[in-house]
């Protein structure tokens, strides 16, 4: 069995990528299984999805603890311990990162274990689609190449999965073309199944009784959401072009997270430690004074505390 784990941010298309890979494998006659894990169902929140491929019925379910291939849709996830991107990676694991850096550069910067390969899918999507959009077809195609699936089945799987999401025929065709281009372009590091190392028996430690102060699910603190920095959820950041701003306050009104405050001069100030990069302000700004800029790779813009 080959087990693939996808990591992305809500809205990037990690779940759909896992389905494209599963469908492509299924079309080639394999038994496939794919499933997502939803945490916070919000744009930008860390998301994981799993695909398993085998020639016989698959007995495993749920999260992939020991992946043969890890697909990282957003490089900043490597820095976020809550995303658990590094779980179960050993020296044989192939790790793909959506990054403009080369594999050597990325590994030097992050000391990421495993056999790394990279390709800048976000830049490709920006150039080919001309806007920020999900990279599910690209991620799925690259994963298909790394596990050795055929280009034709990837092309068909992209069509099926994106049609299922209601995309227009023309958009599906573009995704197929760009997906196939990424399929060809990704530096190849082949994934091999290999015999798994057996896990040792789990050491159990059953909890003992504690007073309800500790033993009930209650948070004994005042509002603490300021402590949870969500700036790392962004793949794009809203940036103000001051000359264009007319001081209308619409960005302030529309921000769902309350991270935009206004100066006495009626200009927005964005709290980047908490802005999740939903781009609603960019969408709503009537004068295009807010623009989306891609976050820089390698956790430069933000680090988990």
């Amino acid at each position: 069995m080959i087990a693939i784990r996808f990591h992305g941010r809500g809205g990037q298309g990690a779940k759909t990528a896992s389905r494209i890979l599963g469908t492509a494998a299924f079309l080639e006659g394999f038994v496939a299984q794919d499933s997502p894990i939803y945490g916070a169902e919000r744009r930008g929140a860390p998301v994981a999805a799993f695909t398993r491929i085998d020639k016989k019925p698959i007995r495993e379910r749920g999260l992939v603890a020991r992946p043969h291939l890890v697909m990282i849709g957003d490089a900043s996830l490597v820095q976020d311990p809550a995303a658990r991107v590094l779980d179960g990676i050993d020296e044989r694991t192939v790790v793909f990162v959506n990054s403009p850096l080369t594999a050597e550069q990325f590994q030097a910067q992050t000391s990421l274990p495993g056999r790394v390969t990279t390709l800048d899918l976000t830049e490709t999507a920006l150039q080919q689609f001309g806007k920020r959009s999900a990279i599910s077809a690209l991620l799925g195609a690259v994963a298909g190449r790394l596990v050795g699936l055929q280009e034709e089945s990837i092309r068909e799987a992209i069509a099926r999965e994106l049609a299922d999401l209601g995309l227009a025929v023309s958009a599906i065709a573009r995704n197929q073309a760009v997906g196939v281009a990424c399929y060809a372009a990704v530096p190849m590091v082949s994934v091999t199944a290999g015999p798994p190392q057996p896990f040792p028996p789990a050491a159990l430690q059953v909890p003992t009784y504690e007073s309800p102060t500790r033993g009930t699910a209650r948070i004994s603190a005042a509002g603490n959401s300021m402590l949870r920095e969500t700036g790392g959820w962004r793949t794009f950041r809203p940036v103000l072009v001051p000359d264009k701003c007319n001081g209308c306050w619409l960005c302030f009104a529309y921000c769902p997270d309350g991270v935009i405050s206004m100066t006495k001069e009626d200009r927005p100030v964005i709290d980047y430690a908490h802005c999740k990069g939903c781009q609603i302000c960019v969408h709503e700004c009537p004068t295009e004074a807010l623009v989306a800029e891609r976050e820089k790779e390698g956790g430069v813009a933000w680090k988990a505390k």
Binding site: R19, G22, T23, F26, G29, F30, V31, A32, Q33, D34, S35, P36, I37, Y38, I58, R59, E60, R61, G62, L63, A65, P198, F199, P200, P201, A202, A203, L204, Q205, V206, P207, E210, S211, T213, R214, A217, R218, I219, S220, A221
Partner: protein, 410 residues
Amino acid sequence: MEGEMMTGNLAAAWGARLAGAEYIPAFPITPQTEIVEALAKWCESGAMPARFVTLDSEHSMMTAAGAAAATGVRVFTATSSQGLLYAFEVLYSVSGWRAPLVLVNVSRALAAPITLESDHNDVLAARDCGFLQIHAETCQEVLDSILIAYRIAEDERVMLPVIVNLDGFYLSFTREPVALPDPELVAKFLPPFHPAHLGFKASEPHALGVAVLGGTPYSYFRHQMHLAALNALVVHQEAAAEFERLFGRRYDLVEGYRLDDAEDVLVMTNAFASKGKAAVDAARAEGRRVGLVRLRMIRPWPAEAIRHVLRGRRAVAVLDQNLSPGQGGILFQELAACLYHETLRPLALCSFIGGLGGKNLSEGEFRTIFEQTAEAGVQGKGIGPVLLYTEADHREMVQLQGIAGKVGTS
């Protein structure tokens, strides 16, 4: 591969569609909603000639479902967790009317604290309500079990409603290959629903669930339900044989996996049984003579089938994905009770609690189960209930308690 890639939820919707459900009262709840969304779409497009109605709560939904079934139409509905509990009092009425509808429950652990992921305290809370229960391991089994459930429910010897259970996330949102049965064969398997005791005709008034006082009629009617539920053991086997003949897939009351020479046996239910089978394979590769029994039909309780597969084993471990506070694992109790009179009963019965709130069962935890069960068999003394909770889980919890502002020792 035959079929197509499909989630457990979509497979459930296909089960209702192929069964020709005529009325679908609905109320959304995660992780079930995808089922009623698919059915709503099909009813809207005309792909499915059924009446789809959204209700204001699960209590209303279940009332509408039972009332419609009592008029003699084929009814399907689905819920999960808190929704099932909100419908609870109506479950007893519907079964008392002997209205044979099919209800899919997508298992999700109960609040408080609130979560979205699966365990079986929701569906097992309904074990005494008179609904029969079939618990599925795979997406294919979800679809097939809905067809089988209608066939059992609508049999004159049974006429009771059925819950088909699937695990949230682990099946509901997981896609795997599912073969869609041929609708013409389904029509052969599932004849039209014409119940003699139900119906709606102005010229023939009748009242269901009438008041009975004094206990004698009440005892009689409740006992009739008990006998009807027991009849389902036989009816299931007939339905399973016919299902296998038509569709080539075999389902039994309990499923045995690598039991032939197994000394020790692990008993499980639902989707995690797949992981249990993988763990059995791994343990076998190391020379352990272990096997697995998956309980598929929970109501009626297949006592004889369970005795048959567990007779003469050294030790048996029951992995309950539920917890009855102050008692332990629910299925362990039932299993122990049905083995008591068995002269060749296992030397040790072990109770493990795992997968609460959807907590993963790791390979290491299965190894621990097999080791502790073997040891219990050697000692001739059972253990448990043992919570599958590791040192790593403990460290994570202490850290979370710190974040939540807990004081005191850990």
